[in-house]
Symmetry: D4
Subunit: 237 residues, 8 copies
Amino acid sequence: MTDPSAPSDPGSDPVTADLGFARVDLDRARRTGDPEVVYGAGKTPEQVLDILATLHARHPDRAVLATRLAPEALALLGAELPGVRLDPLARAATLGPLPEPQGTVAVIAAGTSDGPVAAEATLSVQVHGAAVRRVDDVGVAGIHRLLEARAEFADADCVVVVAGMEGALPSVVGGLVGVPLVAVPTSVGYGASFDGLAALLGMLNSCAPGVVVVNIDNGYGAGVHAARVARNARRRG
Amino acid sequence: MTDPSAPSDPGSDPVTADLGFARVDLDRARRTGDPEVVYGAGKTPEQVLDILATLHARHPDRAVLATRLAPEALALLGAELPGVRLDPLARAATLGPLPEPQGTVAVIAAGTSDGPVAAEATLSVQVHGAAVRRVDDVGVAGIHRLLEARAEFADADCVVVVAGMEGALPSVVGGLVGVPLVAVPTSVGYGASFDGLAALLGMLNSCAPGVVVVNIDNGYGAGVHAARVARNARRRG
Amino acid sequence: MTDPSAPSDPGSDPVTADLGFARVDLDRARRTGDPEVVYGAGKTPEQVLDILATLHARHPDRAVLATRLAPEALALLGAELPGVRLDPLARAATLGPLPEPQGTVAVIAAGTSDGPVAAEATLSVQVHGAAVRRVDDVGVAGIHRLLEARAEFADADCVVVVAGMEGALPSVVGGLVGVPLVAVPTSVGYGASFDGLAALLGMLNSCAPGVVVVNIDNGYGAGVHAARVARNARRRG
Amino acid sequence: MTDPSAPSDPGSDPVTADLGFARVDLDRARRTGDPEVVYGAGKTPEQVLDILATLHARHPDRAVLATRLAPEALALLGAELPGVRLDPLARAATLGPLPEPQGTVAVIAAGTSDGPVAAEATLSVQVHGAAVRRVDDVGVAGIHRLLEARAEFADADCVVVVAGMEGALPSVVGGLVGVPLVAVPTSVGYGASFDGLAALLGMLNSCAPGVVVVNIDNGYGAGVHAARVARNARRRG
Amino acid sequence: MTDPSAPSDPGSDPVTADLGFARVDLDRARRTGDPEVVYGAGKTPEQVLDILATLHARHPDRAVLATRLAPEALALLGAELPGVRLDPLARAATLGPLPEPQGTVAVIAAGTSDGPVAAEATLSVQVHGAAVRRVDDVGVAGIHRLLEARAEFADADCVVVVAGMEGALPSVVGGLVGVPLVAVPTSVGYGASFDGLAALLGMLNSCAPGVVVVNIDNGYGAGVHAARVARNARRRG
Amino acid sequence: MTDPSAPSDPGSDPVTADLGFARVDLDRARRTGDPEVVYGAGKTPEQVLDILATLHARHPDRAVLATRLAPEALALLGAELPGVRLDPLARAATLGPLPEPQGTVAVIAAGTSDGPVAAEATLSVQVHGAAVRRVDDVGVAGIHRLLEARAEFADADCVVVVAGMEGALPSVVGGLVGVPLVAVPTSVGYGASFDGLAALLGMLNSCAPGVVVVNIDNGYGAGVHAARVARNARRRG
Amino acid sequence: MTDPSAPSDPGSDPVTADLGFARVDLDRARRTGDPEVVYGAGKTPEQVLDILATLHARHPDRAVLATRLAPEALALLGAELPGVRLDPLARAATLGPLPEPQGTVAVIAAGTSDGPVAAEATLSVQVHGAAVRRVDDVGVAGIHRLLEARAEFADADCVVVVAGMEGALPSVVGGLVGVPLVAVPTSVGYGASFDGLAALLGMLNSCAPGVVVVNIDNGYGAGVHAARVARNARRRG
Amino acid sequence: MTDPSAPSDPGSDPVTADLGFARVDLDRARRTGDPEVVYGAGKTPEQVLDILATLHARHPDRAVLATRLAPEALALLGAELPGVRLDPLARAATLGPLPEPQGTVAVIAAGTSDGPVAAEATLSVQVHGAAVRRVDDVGVAGIHRLLEARAEFADADCVVVVAGMEGALPSVVGGLVGVPLVAVPTSVGYGASFDGLAALLGMLNSCAPGVVVVNIDNGYGAGVHAARVARNARRRG
């Protein structure tokens, strides 16, 4: 790779698109292997539309992603962008063809209420180039469900474990397999769960070795990390 | 039982022993079935000695208990009170004969480091009238250890589960059996465990039904509750 | 009991019902003595309906329970499930006959505003097989109300104490009787109550021996624990 | 009173004594009725000595007070200041005659471990001009002890209630009498008491009307407030 | 006074009114000098109406108070209770004649936004028997405003200081006068004020002697304490 | 300057305007160089209008500012105050001519979502007498954008850096230039950002020397400080 | 792999070694690919010695690891275990030959004070089968140091970034390369760093995509995860 | 200035000194106007010595600074570095001649206990090129002391206000003058001051306009910012 801080060559592609309200980082795929993603929270539907279209124009042969979309933003994208794929459960949208998957990520969710976060993780894995295998509703209070499903995740290249409440599931999964494991705390719970803080702390203190954690409800971040792990495991050999 | 707030009969036993620095509650066993216990923290060894001796004089036929004892207090009790039994791991001492046990409590500990808290719980159960079965070092990162030991706790009258770090063990145990279960978070851990807060929050948010929780490192409180549950299960029928 | 992790016998009843969005734990009653309960928060009314009907089909002779129901879910259950019993104050519903009660739980509430949590605890006790005696509005600022009512809870098999604000009531009750006691902090209060945190911390630090605690507003969890304690006290002898 | 911000008359007494390391507020008694008090924490024994001697020189006919004194500071004051009175339990010292007491403050402590804070409150009340009646070791887990002692505080002019752990005592006292009541949380406790935070939050959320609170372990602040309330109740009529 | 825990004489007035949803403490005025107050949060308008009417029937010659009233509750009281006085800014209502004021409380507010809390404090003082002098909008960023107004509060019998944001005003007032001072933190502020936590902590750590504190936005609690202080200062002499 | 606490001369301008609900500090410009600013939160539109008009009448030749305005307040000001300038993004309004700018402040924002806070900072700088240069959307995940823009802020008289999420931007900017730098954390983020707390803590712990911080979302405070720094840098020489 | 919960074959190797004080998980390498690691905190030197020797006997051809060792434990291991390798900076020890490294992990540290945590991460990577490249003292306040060193980490298979204070380094590194990245917050800092909480929150809220986080000072956990990622990237192809 | 990220010219001075354990940023003075400062916490005395000597060699004509020095580090520097100046109260050391001061910073401290932090601020201002005027022990509980001293800070180029406990002093100073003001919370206090958190929150929520804040006890950071503000105010005109 070249020096990321070098002044851009006048004849080369621009590294930034100035939309007035945003400087879109057109150079990110060159530096990191993946295009910039639109974080929809705090942006108007029109801003989301503009940035996503700009990124698609730069990367026409590869899916670009927008997350944390309000219903209004989903509706506007659906109306204005031909070919856009909307995922209302994940509150996300993609434009352009998904990359050929390399490697597999298992996305495991503790309960039905963790579904939206698991969906965001799933879509993020796919956009970043890996395949997904889903294992849902295997919370630790019925441990037989998890043991029955062990074969579904034991040979994945990376595992994403999504759980709210006490967030115990990653510790149990992490003791069953040695696959690289990313834990996602969710805001599912009440009272002293403090909107996901209990699950977050639980996962950070997991007694299983090698558990790593992302922000509360951050299915996207877990998906990006897991996809990179999985595709490298298959791509490089 | 009689009215606890009724003025004490002049001819009857006094309900309070005034030691100057403390009003010992001599009436507690009548009201609650168990004598007062000496909480040693913040008291001088001499104060612990005086209160324990006072309680023993009132209840000569039944063990009385002192907890949270500094080494100096343990040493003084050992030197001054014939017949005292010291438990340095639990940092506790008892004086007088243990009651005949009724019912059984399983005390399950996640790791070796949780030993002192499990020891305090064990002794507290015994002093309050039930038998104890210990199951140690069965943390969730090696779930087979817990499954192998299931028979040791599945038919107890109450289960006490002691764990630090993420505190996931009660959720798994609580999904395997329907025995009344008390969870004890310990201060084992570091960083974002915040001296046991992570385990406490995890246990309060357990997805297993009916898990109840005591303060961090409070083996004593869990032991009292569990003993009362266990002895009632056997005594009343 | 049999090994909970053993592969299910092909000819036996299935241990899991796969509804697509959920893996219902049909085996829980065998393992723990009580069927799975539907936690309604974060689920659509249709999902609640499906799971509750599935559980009822498995356990036709015993009440199954759904908690934390939005008005829409209560309405749908009322319309679609003949014989369902709705409890709007507890925000819960049951289907099937209540078990014959064994043992008695006293549910004590500090104030009128704690009513919904006390109602959830009450119903949970009944569904899990014990009888309930209610003692309401006996906060510590008028201690005579509690002392007058002492006879109503002194001989129960377990006591559930529900309180918000400073959460002092369990300490006072716990000093009056030796019945196993479960404290439920509620989110009643304002300012530095921090949505029930003050009451939760107060109860965790109770100076009365043997007080155990559940999550803020978790009447259900207290009810399950108390029912198990109470029914064992009567059943086993 | 005169304008506190007016430039000081050249011929009058100075309002500030500049000791180099401190500007002693010699004017405070004129403005507020009480001399400045030396807060010993973070000061060297020599600094404490200098300030206390300076205040005594200004107020020879009235006791001045130093609090939060390390053993070294207590020793130095004892050696250098003839007539000083040391109170090691309260970690405080006074110099000069106590004022004639007007009105009475009841200082109630929940447990033996709260003794040092109660001692600081007691001395502070006396230095600020009121009499003290002590009621010790009347925690709520043995409510009969408090009810027996009710006559000792029901007719005081102000009540100071000192308690750690869950801090429930002020709520019970506040429901028994209508005397102005100041609650002092102490750092007595462990685990989720968080060095007195649980007691502080409990007292701030007291369901008893009119309970006011000071900082954790701040016996001094409670004593000053209570003495002012008590002496005004007697002085003005 | 008589023993508050004594069984009530059959021929005497009842000490509790059982409304089904509430046990109204009819005995509180005898024990504490003031009737019970209706805390409106978490109660239906009909419940507020019932309790207030019950208290008024017991205390026809003295104002009774309801606080934290939603607009619906204020409307219902206005429609159903002849003679009720509504205070929408304080979100409170009173029924029955105010007592003859004894002593004076100065209620000082830092800013316009603190008005509702100051109004609740003001009304609570009046209902509990003292007169009020208001001093508004004298925040510390314009200290001359406070110094100009000093005469308005320097000779009060008690001072209530209401402030949000950093909560500095009590420290400045407390350095100017020696009147007993109650500080009320308000939830005015944003960001790291954390809904009044910054002001609460500031006031608890005031460097001015004798500052006592109530819960965030608790004008009622401050008013009760201050009224008791003020009326005792005038009544007893 | 004169003594701020001196009694006002009867013949001079009044230092306070009493609007009934507010004591407007008309003297602030004399003491501090800048007029009082109207903080709109918690005030009715009519109160905002009255105070802004009063300040404008006192300072007709200099812009006065109102911040944190609800849409209703913006609308009322627009309708009632000829010449008012509304800034809906900043949620602010000004009345009267902006001062001639002296010195320049660079306002740097990490992302598009930080726009409203950057707008409040920008307007506040202008009202307090300095010029602004904006540098937007230069978050640290694309460091080349910041390096490219370095010339735009390296020679400013003060830099304001606005960022949410992890709040890392001030540390990077602070290592590139030695201009006095004010960091503004924003509430942009989710989960463990805790409404801006993560960014606030990050900025307070910046490893770059001399970074100072204001409250979450407090563009106004940063703007006032920066303008004073910038205008002094140019004015005094 | 085989069923982890299957009863162990009587003729096969035992899956657990019962040392009395610990049940050593001898089966972990079979399930997860790596042997159990000895967490030394809270264990006596003798316990550490016993467990490490037991693990070494089971895995003689592969290094086993003990972490968080007090000086006494390090000394005992050095004296009793021939061939042990001590790493005092990392506070760790290994016994047995390191595995042949597959893949490379870059361990990047922000400052000199982060050295111990980086050392623990380094050793953990090596024990778990990957090579390490170290890049030290490249904090964001001198961004040129990091840019100069970019080639040292841009082609690694995984990156571990260790930083205290505001924890900004992972965000900048994460914007420069697309390598899977694990962030380790350290307790380096003071005041509002709250022993690493500021860095932890900063990293959880990183604006760079795919950043995952471990507990404060948890170099071990980051090392395990990174080694698994790196060795899979090379092993499987 | 030149591009900070440009590759260094082979013939020019090196921008980094590699000491093995540290990469000293020799280029910082060129980029920011001030040399790197040695943060002594977490470094051995020998490391501090090496870095300070390296920086001095690069900047022989200008003082370089080391802060947060343990007594051992102070002693070693005194023994090994001729000409070093030690400041034990500030726990800091400087080497090389102080720059000619330009502009003046007033450092105001609330109490005697804040002295060490004020000393660190003072030295930091001087090393970074401005003069200091000290105003000590002017806490808000004796407001006349501050008003008397107003002339000492009203005409400074920048004001640093150091305070613990409730941290109210910056608000009062900020209302008296319009000088750019930096607030430094200190860890002076106890109980609910939470080691300076109360003062930090108070200052962040100051009602005085333009108050900016640094980390708890961070006299250094405040000094750097203030010196830059002050010297620019004088240098540039």
